[in-house]
Symmetry: D3
Subunit: 131 residues, 6 copies
């Protein structure tokens, strides 16, 4: 068996339990390699490295997606993944806001609006310390 | 006095003790507003928010700059800032590598090469757990 | 009182009279800091600087958003803002077209299509001098 | 007559037979110059150069649009154009996947999802050699 | 003769009198089409449109290049072009600063540093109204 | 043994015979994982797929890097790689020029200037059919 793929599937199932099924549904007939390289390379290789814990990795992913733009689908999935590994909704928003000086307002406002939809779908609210 | 500016100067001095002087030297005659809005808005407003600690913020900044590209000057400064607040050289590299699935190899390789120069200048080395 | 915030609210009300309400509605429960830093920093600090008039600033904003991509929401708002400060629909289109050699056709076509929707919603038409 | 415009119209009609009408419908009242410069400059000048054949050009266009992001409308049109000049659906997907190490997963996944919709609309399927 | 090319050469000579020679020197042996399409398409077609004056066009170009990043060579040329058509050094800086909320600090700081070098080479200084 | 890694090393050696040594020299002490994932994932997984030949892949890589910007180091390596698998210098330039309508002039001019340096270093010249 391919060790990285197996390890990646397990890690992927913690971050995004429905992803393997979604990858098969979305890409199985058109780009099936994505069903193997996302678990194997992304989760089995990169997310399985030492040095950063799952919460840190999800935060860095949200920052990456915020900066890149045109990533609403991926942000939605990884915000849910962040909640799954213990990042709070408040921390998700703080991560997005932290990117503001680097990528500017449009990318940050878009990401916050995506988070708002995701939070509503998941049924969580942001608990601000000062609210 | 402007409270945000004062707070920002203090926080900025922890992350990058020479930045105020550099801002004055670089921008004092050409764009002096940068001498006030970088401490006030970036450090006094955004970096002074609750919810994320200084190590987390520097990691998110390094991820942002890696994804954006054409940011070698800023990466150099914020990698030093990360070291100043307790991020290890190893963690800096892990943060950059984590961005790989999102922004691709060119942005990541450029950021690692920048980190290599910065580490050499500062005189630190990467202690990999498995080396 | 915070002078920049007050000045920013006034300027923001000229460019986009409904923005303060929209910011509260969109972000009040999830990222309330945006209700203060958009008026204070964007409009009270940056848009309140001397040297460029409101028409010039809206033109530069439309060019920025065109080049960045994934900014349809912001373009819609700032095209309306441009009309509010006296930029003609024809000038809006010329600003977008001017960006073509720099960011290429896809960003420009997307921005023109956004402008087309915005103009239809507002009820204005483009008066080309040669039509 | 303008030779480049005439040559471009002919070439454009091979790649995307409905484009001239679409350009007129979309831009005729708002940015009519696009009705002339897209045939003249894009197809009559750039796509009419020697050295690359129409299949190669469509592949390079799909790679460009994949890397840029926020280009779903243009990808849809140029994927159809690729099919029109003899690129197979399988090759379209391989071109998009090839961009992965350079622009990362989000841009590639978005482009594959766009291709999936386009293929469904056109009524073609991907014939993988190994399926 | 090609009317757009002739018109473009004249306009280009106003903005950047040395560009035709530089294009020949840089690209004449490797990509000679750039010697014709930059005067013809960029300056003869796009910059020759009505609706915006030369100062406005150079300001929009500087904003575009600031937002795109990795454009130091082009910014240097177009900042000189802006000065040539009557934009003041102070206005150049204000245009760059105006982009800050949209593209963030790294792009703006890089563009200001480029402007600083260009101004030093040309021998102009920024006259701030409040200095 | 890891089959993808072995396959990738062989393919990588065809495209860029010195890359394995360069990766070790550049990244061996700071990010050694790049010594394995570039051969394994980039060349052993992605470049080893069927459907596109090595010339097509190098052309698509050059187009990707042109569009992304801030990729001079990678363009230099992959232009040499293109020459190594039989792409002519003339075709390299045509690939870069083809990207112009999508990413605009600055990215294309930068890439042509990089190619010019690479061609000079390698000692090849562009043979234009019409020169």
């Amino acid at each position: 068996m391919n060790e990285k793929f197996e390890r990646g599937l397990k890690r992927m199932a913690v971050v995004d339990p429905g992803l393997q099924d979604r990858l098969h549904h979305l890409f199985g007939d058109i780009a099936p390699v994505l069903e193997s390289i996302i678990p194997e390379f992304v989760f089995g290789e990169m997310y399985s490295r030492e040095g950063l814990d799952p919460k840190q990795r999800q935060m860095l992913t949200i920052a990456s997606l915020t900066n890149l733009g045109d990533t609403a689908i991926q942000l939605d999935a990884h915000i849910k993944g962040a909640l799954n590994v213990g990042v709070t909704p408040y921390e998700v928003i703080e991560v997005i806001l932290h990117c503001l000086p680097y990528c500017g307002f449009p990318r940050v406002l878009n990401a916050v609006l995506t988070a708002k939809k995701t939070f509503a779908e998941v049924g969580v609210t942001v608990e601000h310390p000062s609210l």
